[in-house]
Amino acid sequence: MGWAIALHGGAGDIPLSLPSDRRLPREAGLRHCLDVGIAALKAHKHPLDVVELVVRELENHPHFNAGKGSVLTTSGTVEMEACIMDGKTKKCGAVSGLSTVVNAISLARTVMEKTPHIYLAFDGAEAFAREQGLETVDPSYFVTPENIERLKQAQEANRVQIDYTQPIQKEVKKDDAIGDGDSQIGTVGCVAVDNEGNLASATSTGGLVNKMVGRIGDTPIIGAGTYANHLCAVSATGKGELIIRGTVARDVAAVMEFKGVSLKEAAAYVVGQVPPGNVGLVAVSSTGEVTMPFNTTGMFRACATEDGYSEIAIWDSPSK
């Protein structure tokens, strides 16, 4: 038993040749967020507070696809979503379609604690944020020049996919089409366990580049992008539609529970069930195990455990 924490900044086709001006700020961001989480755990903060705190930091970081730095819809707007879940009580909160809330994850937490519901979306969620006094800003705050460029490239490459009059080519390679390849299907997330075995999970995202207005991905869906129970906490990232179909986060917990295997085995099994190139996840167990499997080229990730182990990595072997 001991505390453990893991976080991610998205999985995808991250080219090994990722230029250092794109790599270094993200590595620094992961390190900073990991340190914030470790300090909070050492100060005996509840994992629910820890994952919220860390995801807020990730949202505020413009190089990750959540909060500031969120990717843009087909109309050039930002629609953010997030989800948080407590392992012991299985209480959870989720939000979608946010355009002015600075920290989507904190609104998800507020939905969990201050409403009889679990999930609020679009205008109703925005109105609730104002009523609760959460920090809101002009939508332009979230839009970065990088993401305007990404949308332009995606729209040039994907014209056929968003034209409903054409037959759908389901597997149009939307990632390969985009020059710099990094984090356009990103998401951020954090899972944590304290040394009493309390678990929590949180995930936040701007969604998919060039997504249709109104599109909801896996992130806010309990059991798909986010899940926690008494055994483990999981946050997933990748192709939302496949993560929803595979109920990926819930399945890690289900395989542990019903097959009696370890966190590592369960997570590896579930990731292996999703077609290659599409999913990654971070997970911790109630006994302080941590695992970060992915079947994409890479995943921005970091973890630490109480016994002093820590890792910050993007591709298979830890980067320098």
Partner: protein
């Protein structure tokens, strides 16, 4: 070749004092919907088409809480949601926050078939509906006089429940609404409109499918999403089974109830009936809910821990049952 099976529901959590004629009306509708499903199965329609067809019928009839007859938000408007899932490839589609789409389940099907996504909501979903040319109606179409009255009762009941100085049960003010101590989703059950309709089908090729549709919760906050559109919670289908749930949305989401049935079959090796019993018994913490399920072998099962669930089922060997309690 296996055997087909079908089950439908019109919501869990039924007022024990529901007048006989309303019960009979509900049973007649469930029977009619089952027969529509059975004819479709006999003419070899795939499971996914059958669940859509049957849920459309349930949405179009004002009796249950979906489509016409949907429960009202705190603002007196209708916000509908639905989802559909095809077992063989686990393809799925979901919609939320619809205000003008006559048949939400068919829009969910179009999201699955005609968009690159799985789930569209609110204005984006409405815009997609217009582009796809589905039938649209004015929001007024969905609002029934019954539900306007229920919303009023719900507001009265809530104002009492949220005032902790007054005992919750048996006080004046809310009248009939407070007679029953049974609650669903925080409302006395006599005010609570059974949430949700759903259908699960396995065709004789062994393909499973599930669909669920709802107006959500009476007096819900604008923007509230429940379990019905959430894949794994309200709706799930895979190679093994198809499941549609109803009841306290928040309890269903926390337990990812629909996926849970499939997961205990897949990972624990239970059969459909064992899986349904296990999930209802062990997974609902304090929540109240019910579900219907079919397996690829043509079994059908339902389970609930509420006072009742409007439901019906039929199998290829001639078995047919429609019940409330």
């Amino acid at each position: 070749m296996g055997a087909w099976a079908i089950a439908v529901h019109g919501g869990a959590g039924v007022d024990p004092n529901l007048p006989k004629e309303r019960q009979e009306e509900a049973k007649r509708l469930l029977t009619r919907c089952l027969n529509i499903g059975i004819s479709a199965l006999l003419s070899n329609l795939p499971a996914i088409d059958v669940v859509e067809l049957v849920v459309r019928e349930l949405e179009t009839d004002p009796l249950f809480n979906s489509g016409r007859g949907s429960a009202l938000t705190e603002n007196g408007t209708v916000e509908m949601e639905a989802s559909i899932m095809d077992g063989p490839k686990r393809r799925c589609g979901a919609v939320s926050g619809l205000t003008t789409v006559k048949n939400p389940v068919s829009l969910a099907r179009l999201v699955m078939d005609k968009s690159p996504h799985s789930y569209l909501a609110f204005s984006g979903a409405e815009e997609f509906a217009r582009k796809q040319g589905v039938e649209l109606v004015d929001n007024e179409y969905f609002i029934t006089e019954d539900n306007v009255g229920m919303l009023k009762l719900a507001k009265e009941a809530n104002s009492i429940l949220f005032d902790y100085r007054i005992p919750a049960i048996g006080t004046c003010g809310a009248g009939a609404a407070m007679d029953s101590p049974l609650q669903m989703n925080g409302l006395p059950i006599s005010v609570y409109a059974p949430e949700t309709v759903g259908c699960v089908v396995v065709d004789k090729e062994g393909r499973c499918a599930a669909a669920t549709s709802t107006g959500g919760l009476m007096n819900k906050m604008t923007g509230r999403i429940g379990d019905s559109p959430l894949i794994g919670s309200g709706t799930y289908a895979c190679d093994l089974c198809g499941v549609s749930c109803t009841g306290e949305g928040e309890a269903i989401i926390r337990s990812t109830l629909a996926r849970e049935v499939a997961a205990v079959m897949e990972y624990k090796g239970l059969n459909l009936h064992e899986a349904v019993d296990y999930v209802i018994k062990n997974r609902l913490d304090e929540g109240k809910a019910g579900l219907i399920a079919v397996s690829k072998n043509g079994e059908v099962a339902c389970g609930f821990n509420t006072t009742g669930m409007f439901r019906g089922c039929a199998t290829e060997d001639g078995f047919m049952e429609v019940g409330v309690w």
